[in-house]
């Protein structure tokens, strides 16, 4: 039996890490601001009466660029990690990923329709374009997930195995549709599509942040309430039913939360892989499989990992920046392999 970390210690450590990551995310960037200026600008943003002289640049960078970006990173990371826990609990399979129910593929199709279709229409008005992309991605993700869920249902029961296979099939189909659109797209549109598929927190703004923050808050409140039910699911579906859990309702809620959360995250920041897969593992490894711990801890760890990955994305190649999907995969994939190898020995 491996030594497990006490939940209390874990939460204290993760909260501290989270604060540290937020601080780093606000304090570091390609523009080097004096630490004192950053702090004063931060306090000014909080509404404290501090003289504004010489702070314009710091305030602008902190308030308009770094703060929305940090909030976006926290929300996206938290939602992706929570959805990962939900999916791994639903499929009772540690390899489950939020993309498994087709939400990522659906969102990618929605984005392809918006990007390529938009260029066919001769470009949309500049105000509308970003919202249309997010909206199409969100609707695509939700739609495909609903279809996968529907395909998995028979006689009022949801067969998880059927749903998983339907998800795989829909993902393949989505891949084909995206492929078709990239074939039809011109060069410029193709590059936009490629970059969208790699994800980025670049260009975060408050207007586009609010919908995601609302969804993230909803998911973050709702899923931990179902921790006991998810624990019962670990024993098996029929066992959970015998323990008095409404299993069908639980499945519906898990799928809905994932579709909503991942759909909103993808709509705001593009496809970002590996957070949903790796973070729940990491937490379980440290604290054991109890969902009462895993859910809130994943929420914090997802946010932390996302912020750190974003820090690397914006600092490594400054003044250019890396798509964050590349960074998370570079961190995530070796770590995942490490877990696999460790488990075997």
């Amino acid at each position: 039996m491996k030594q497990r970390v006490q939940p209390r210690t874990l939460f204290i450590c993760l909260s501290l890490l989270c604060l540290l990551a937020v601080w780093l995310s606000l304090a570091l960037g390609p523009v080097s601001l004096p630490l004192f200026d950053t702090m004063r600008a931060g306090l000014r943003l909080l509404g404290l009466p501090i003289a504004a002289d010489g702070l314009q640049q710091a305030e602008m960078i902190l308030g308009q660029i770094r703060l929305p970006r940090t909030l976006l990173g926290l929300a996206v990371g938290a939602v992706l990690a929570l959805s990962g826990v939900a999916m791994q609990g639903l499929f009772r399979n540690p390899l489950a990923d939020p993309g498994l129910v087709g939400v990522a593929a659906g969102a990618a199709v929605g984005a392809a329709v918006a990007i390529v279709g938009g260029s066919w229409l001769g470009g949309l008005p500049e105000v509308l374009a970003p919202y249309l992309l997010s909206l199409c991605a969100f609707i695509g993700g939700l739609g495909v997930t609903a279809l996968v869920y529907r395909l998995g249902r028979r006689d009022g029961q949801t067969n998880v195995a059927t749903m998983l296979l339907a998800g795989v099939a829909m993902t393949a189909l989505g891949g084909a549709v995206v492929g078709l659109f990239s074939y039809l797209a011109d060069d410029a549109t193709l590059r936009t599509l490629t970059f969208w598929n790699l994800g980025s927190l670049n260009g975060a703004s408050y207007q586009r942040l609010w919908p995601l923050l609302l969804v993230a808050a909803g998911v973050a409140v709702w899923l931990p309430r179902r921790a006991m039910a998810l624990n019962a699911m670990l024993l098996g579906e029929s066992e959970a039913r015998h323990l008095g859990i409404d299993v069908e309702r639980l499945k519906r809620e898990l799928v809905f939360c994932t579709a909503l959360g991942v759909g909103a995250a993808v709509a705001a920041a593009g496809l970002i892989g590996f957070i949903g897969l790796v973070v729940p593992h990491l937490v379980r490894l440290l604290a054991g499989p109890d969902h009462r711990v895993v859910l809130p801890a994943s929420l914090l760890a997802g946010g932390v990992l996302m912020l750190l990955a974003d820090l690397a994305a914006r600092l490594l190649l400054a003044p250019a920046e890396l798509p964050i999907g590349i960074v998370t995969a570079f961190i995530g994939a070796p770590f995942f392999l490490f877990l696999l190898m460790r488990g075997r020995s």
Binding site: M60, Q64, P130, N202, A204, S205
Partner: protein
């Protein structure tokens, strides 16, 4: 009564001029996110003002030593602001829009130019750049020289066409010779071919992948090949090796293959274009080579 409009005019003119002088004086630090624009800025003597360029700015090669702000469609607001620029110039391809909005909000001028493959766009861009750099006279000279070169080439091409039919041409864009894309109608490549007096055999829109058989069936008189990985002779060798179906075409039998710098195909028309068009035309009309090369 006549005095007032004149005075008003003079006032306006003086305002405009002082504004421009002001612009040229204050815009000391430039970031350029467009290959052709960077070339024009250098040609106008503004290279020393560039503090950052995007990944499509490869010419002149001294630009490569400047900090790179990444790909023009994926700019980073804070990355660009860290270079403390006074102005960011780019084509309408530049983005994403929220990042441009953030950069504007930070007080940096964002100036947009056209990347269309047409002469009017070059004129407009040069005029605009000249104003921003305070080098209007130079810009006007460059623009008229550009026109002259292209007009002279057109005249020679027409002359050559009297002796020889316009050749059927395909422009292939590839990576180390493999799976080339064919430049169709409406692309910058198509504009290049027609300016040099070639007849683009590809009838589709945009860039498309063709099967080897379809390529051979078009039977081009000349093949222009633009490779992103290899240059000149090596690129042509790789193309023939990867696409054996081409071997039967007239272009290969008569050894009429020519390579083209791929950076000419993106981001609008740049200053290196007339020379390239001249060498293309010389390949298209071998009989008139001597007159075209002048």
């Amino acid at each position: 009564m006549m005095r007032r409009p004149v005075a008003l005019l003079a006032l306006c003119a003086s305002l405009v001029f002082s504004n421009q002088a002001l612009a040229a004086e204050t815009l000391q630090r430039w970031v350029s996110a467009g290959g052709a624009l960077s070339e024009w800025i250098s040609a106008l003597g503004g290279e020393a003002r560039l503090v950052g360029v995007d990944t499509t700015s490869q010419h002149p090669s001294s630009l490569k030593s400047l900090p790179s702000v990444g790909y023009q469609r994926q700019l980073s607001a804070e990355g660009i602001l860290s270079l403390r620029p006074d102005v960011l110039v780019g084509t309408e391809e530049m983005g994403p829009p929220p990042v441009l909005a953030q950069i504007r909000k930070a007080g940096v001028r964002v100036e947009l130019f056209s990347s269309k493959a047409e002469l009017a766009a070059v004129d407009e861009n040069l005029k605009h750049l000249g104003q921003l750099l305070g080098a209007e006279q130079q810009a006007a000279t460059l623009a008229s020289g550009y026109h002259q070169q292209l007009d002279a080439l057109q005249a020679k091409v027409r002359q050559a066409q009297a002796g020889q039919k316009a050749p059927g041409v395909l422009l292939l864009v590839g990576h180390a010779g493999a799976k080339p894309l064919i430049a169709g109608q409406g692309t910058a490549g198509d504009w290049l071919l027609s300016q040099a007096g070639g007849r683009n055999l590809a009838a589709h829109q945009g860039y498309r992948n063709f099967s080897g058989e379809a390529l051979a069936a078009l039977d081009p008189d000349v093949i222009v090949f633009s490779d992103r990985a290899l240059a000149d002779e090596q690129a042509l060798q790789a193309l023939l090796k990867e696409n054996p179906a081409l071997a039967g075409s007239r272009a290969v039998r008569e050894q009429r293959l020519v390579s083209l710098d791929p950076t000419l195909l993106v981001g609008g028309l740049g200053p290196r274009l007339p020379a390239t068009l001249q060498s293309l035309a010389a390949t298209f009309y071998p009989a008139a080579k001597a007159s075209l090369a002048q």
